[in-house]
Amino acid sequence: MAWTKKILRVNLNAGTCSTEPLNMEWAHQYLGQRGLGTKYLVSEIDPKVDPLAPGNKMMFTTGPLTGTMASTGGRYSVITKGPLTGAIACSNSGGFFGAELKFAGWDMIIIEGKAAKPVYLSIVDDQAELRDAGHLWGKTAWVTEEEIKKTHQDPLLRVSCIGRAGENQVLFAAIMNDQHRAAGRSGVGAVMGSKNLKAIAVRGTKSTPANIANPAEFVKAVNAAKKVLAANPVTGQGLPTYGTQVLMNVINEMGALPTRNHQDVQFEKASAISGEAMHEKRPSDGKANLVTNGACFGCTIACGRISKIDPGHFSIKDKPQYQGASGGVEYEAAWALGAANGVGDLDALTYANFLCNEDGMDPISFGATVGAAMELYQLGILTKEETGVDMPFGSAEALVKLTEMTAKGEGFGKIIGLGSKRMCAKYGRPELSMTVKGQEFPAYDGRALQGMGLEYATSNRGACHLRGYMVSTEVLGVPVKMDPMATEGKAPMLKAFQDTTAVVDSSGLCVFTTFAWALPDIQPQIQAACEGDWSMDKLMLVGERIWNLEREFNLGAGLTHKDDTLPPRLLKEPCKTGAQKGKVCELDKMLPEYYQVRGWSKDGIPTPDTRARLGL
């Protein structure tokens, strides 16, 4: 089983909550979470709908392994049409909310319509109701979580909510849970804000073992897989000690660290904002930025960073509320808030990250948009008179100020909140937006890692590293080492990564397990938990089906093969330094082969044969 086989449908127009059975035919075709949520979304909305209109829907989904004893089995996803991209949006979060939703007995929540005034959804096991959130509107995500727990007199409630950024419909607003875990990308928080839905609070007291199809086999499979994670040097030691931030020096050394809005590929202050630096004692107060690591529900890796800023640092010296320990920077956030803006002040980045968590903003898109704004400022297109901030590249003060302004929706922060595509277009320089399909790049340069260039161009949710993490093969040698500059062989490898990732994202597990686990480690856990056949072949077919379903939604929304591209800077302006000096992304050498291995036409459309093979 593994599924609770129950969906909660919430109609915000009518203010109703109703129960319906999970479509088990679809569950066997799409597994859960990302795949199943996408199937429901695609089946229920017009792909051309305005993402911020009441006609858009939101799916809060769990996987069959969410809430089980499988390591990292606590994930949930939010699937909707994204306002940043106009494409499918699927953002995945850890923490404890997903497992709690499962404990309450739900596989999925479908949110539809728009409430007339701010509300939050309260779920206690089978009971669900909409409650007034007027007193919470205008509050941060941190305050919202605290207030709801107080209201219900239950500190064990789990809350998924938006801060002010979501209310203000910042186009990269995130949905936050457990203070610093986020369904972060593609602006899912703005969709929640557009619906006047402030939060979902859930308390579950049911257990999940009864849902496991074969408990004895499941325990055996899960324990074997946990041993693999513990024995692997990456998941057993590297990630707990350094977090994802260990990549900062690696990627910089390779000349693949986008810097100052992708003008450069190496950052002279990378070491100052790296994972190693987070362990170093500061000269100012003798303490390290990193306090400890942290784990999400059921996780035996614990890559999370818990950080503390020097209380005397300019960003917080008069703000005691930020002087305690909270969620520190992960690699992508450290890059976007740091290298992308030329800022090498680790504590300033940590403060900006705290604010992104507090008010629910994706630090990748936010930081990258600041980087684009700083280039506009460098060119004299933006001025201090217009922005109210002196904002040259490298200014930690500007970063801090712009973060505060964007979180609160003040002044030039409203323009930053549009994301870099709309901001750069507004100032007549659309080519300076480092985005694909409107979403900002993460922390790897597609000129220095050719496969990542192809991955960004073809990602269904816009530029993203988590749809097919080619860094794994091009840098880290997992599962095999590929030459980062080669274009040959990248298309089939990317397809395998994309399809496998779609399976992991649909299972309830964290994709970071795949640094140690291959599909043969994951498959026995799914097979033991779920009724029916979940062979390796079937799982790969499920992954491919999900990828193609997302593609079809995007095509229906009006995107075409012309959107499978990169900004001109990555295609025409060579890397200035590093091992790939002089190189650009040779997308044209890879994209036709990618369409071919996908079984798509030259225009990037799944052929009738492909659709039939996948049952679409």
């Binding site: 590297g238 260990v246 990549l247 020096n249 690696v250 050394e253 794994s472 970071f512």
Partner: protein
Amino acid sequence: MQCFSGAAFRGVGNGLEVKAELKLYASLSDYLPTESRKTNRIELEIEPGTTVLDLIDRYRLPQHLCKLVLIDGSFVPPEDRGVRALREGEVLAIWPPVAGG
């Protein structure tokens, strides 16, 4: 963990030394001289022909932990590490198995 004086690994002093740089990151930084750990780097003056493997041995780095080996940002595969000599001005950087995202 090993603690060395950087001076112990300087070249033979015949004026023909190759000047290069060694960077050790993450848990491998423990193998650097104490004073170099904060910067993760040490300057080398080594005999011409000194290979990557020679330096891995010299610094007593466990070979199984030398997963990601870069010279000037380019990957040196395991089979080349015994023959690839460092040239003047090159930077050798080594990591244990790491990942991120």
